[in-house]
């Protein structure tokens, strides 16, 4: 895995994107599709029918051996002891000071076999961090280059994946996963995503990504670029590492207290059952922050009038002093208008509070709102 200087990295699906005429961009060192038909059309395709995303640039780091659970439990803020085989959970990984290393999904593949999927731009950093803080507890291997990952999202996602890969895939619960075969390729289908829609993320061997991608296209899926991935995740109010969360923010400030289990059980290393496990990395700092009380928090807002707040805009008080900052913002194609997220002082975090946003020499109001901007309609399934 190379990072930094050098040529852009390619996923196993890179040539598919280029051949289809996608507009390609540098994304964290990867040459990735920004858009195919256009961001709005792709956004709509996912909300109304079916879209597929190449997310093979994301990293897969595998923990195996008797100490695997202890290692994962030491690294993540959520409680990995709650997982059973075939189940996954969303979590943060924190530095000792409580700042966020990454946000990830942990998959329990077996009692001594866990996979953590990490953000593409963070693979090298995360792998080094995992080895540093848990390398003594179990085998930790970076398999990112050997794995393809295709997100299949939208109201038709489950039916199409089941038609290609077997009806048994319909039984997978939210944050569950199971194996199947699509286009002759062995896949693992996880019922997860980053769009606010139902669907799967399909793990493939790197060499199997192309036939699975092509089978999904043949079944009517629209290919979706990173542009619509961002508008979809923003509408669903999902955090983006590097924008809404990073090493300068904590999970508590970011509204991710629900994946921060300060009182979760410590797991002794399987290698030495008499050892009492240690708290997870960052637990003490986060417990202290919780006890002292938060000073700022990440809120969602809806922009009033005809304005669009962008990342980096300031939140100001009545005197014009900067009191917060916008971390994500843009149009919300499905719900209409423009939305965003910002860190603000706790006193301004209540829903209904009107924030003043200052951007490019002008100010405009935005109202704090609770929960996701977009929620998919309830379905019978």
């Amino acid at each position: 895995m190379s990072t930094g200087t050098g040529p852009l990295l390619h996923t196993p699906l890179h040539d598919q994107h280029v051949a289809r005429g996608a507009k390609m961009v540098d994304f964290g060192g990867w040459h990735m599709p920004l858009q195919y038909e256009g961001i709005l059309a792709e956004h709509r395709a996912v909300r109304e029918a079916l879209g597929i995303f190449d997310v093979s640039h994301m990293g897969e780091i595998d923990f195996t051996g008797p100490g695997a659970l202890a290692a994962v439990q030491r690294l993540v803020t959520n409680d990995a002891t709650k997982l059973t085989d075939g189940k996954a959970l969303y979590t943060c990984v924190c530095y000792p000071d409580g700042g966020i290393v990454d946000d990830c999904i942990v998959y329990r593949r077996g009692p001594q076999d866990f996979r953590i999927v990490v953000n593409a731009a963070n693979i090298a950093k995360d792998f080094a961090f995992f080895k540093e803080h848990a390398g003594a507890l179990c085998s930790i291997e970076n398999h990112s280059d050997e794995v393809g990952l295709i997100a299949v999202q939208g109201p038709k996602a489950r039916a199409v994946v089941a038609s290609l890969g077997g009806e048994h895939l319909l039984k997978i619960p939210s944050f569950g996963f199971a194996s199947g075969t699509i286009a002759g390729v062995e896949i693992v289908a996880a019922r997860t995503g980053y769009t606010g829609e139902d669907g799967f993320e399909l793990f493939t061997p790197a060499a199997g990504a192309v036939p699975v991608w092509q089978a999904l296209l043949a079944a009517g899926a629209a290919p979706i670029g990173l542009g619509a991935r961002d508008t979809l995740r923003l509408e669903a109010r999902l955090s983006l590492y590097g924008n809404d969360i990073d090493q300068t923010t904590t999970p508590l400030e970011a509204g991710l207290g629900w994946v921060t289990k300060l009182d979760k059980p410590h797991v002794p290393s399987g290698l030495d059952p008499l050892t009492r496990g240690e708290p997870f990395v960052g637990a003490e700092a986060l417990a202290r922050q919780k006890a002292e009380g938060l000073k700022r928090t990440l809120v969602g807002f809806r922009v009033q009038d005809r304005n669009i707040a962008r990342p980096g805009a300031d939140v100001v008080d009545a005197s014009g002093a900067v009191i917060g900052r916008v971390t994500s913002g843009g149009p919300a194609p499905t719900v209409g208008g423009a939305v965003g997220m910002a860190y603000v002082p706790l006193a301004l975090a209540a829903p209904g509070t009107v924030l003043t946003i200052s951007q490019r020499g002008r100010t405009f109001p935005a109202e704090v709102v609770k929960g996701p901007f977009y929620k998919r309609p309830e379905t019978a399934a």
Binding site: K23, G227, R306, P331
Partner: protein, 132 residues
């Protein structure tokens, strides 16, 4: 990317805007197909009111695409005499018809000779070929 050539009868800036002299001497301003292709779906165009003075090379408005915001720079010094209000409700007109319905403002130039400093279609095409 569109491969269509810039229309011959317009003048251009290196910021991918076009200018057209109308019969009354006012200059209509918009952005080029190249700019539209680079921006993607346009969601909002922020323009000043008629009567606003603008200065050549200075920002006079913003154009938001789904992904980002870009600045509009005045090709000429003068006064804005008309604004395309239709873009308020239908900013996608800029995508659909950048040289027609997607026009942005009309400027009454303070010094019509400034027009001579803008690029011809040929020169603009050369700029694009050089990676503009």
């Amino acid at each position: 990317m569109s491969t269509s050539r810039p229309p011959d009868h317009l003048r251009y800036t290196k910021d991918h805007e076009w200018a057209r002299v109308e019969s009354d001497g006012a200059v209509t301003v918009g952005i080029t197909t190249h700019a539209v292709d680079a921006l993607g779906d346009i969601t909002m165009v922020t323009l000043p009111a008629a009567g606003t003075a603008v200065e050549a090379g200075k920002r006079f408005g913003d154009i938001d695409s789904v992904k980002a915001v870009s600045e509009l720079f005045a090709p000429l010094t003068g006064e804005i005499v008309a604004v395309n209000d239709g873009l308020n409700d239908a900013p996608e007109r800029v995508n659909a018809d950048p040289y027609g319905d997607g026009w942005m403002v009309r400027i009454r130039p303070a010094n019509p000779a400034e027009l001579g400093g803008l690029l011809t279609a040929e020169a603009y095409e050369r700029l694009l070929a050089d990676g503009g």
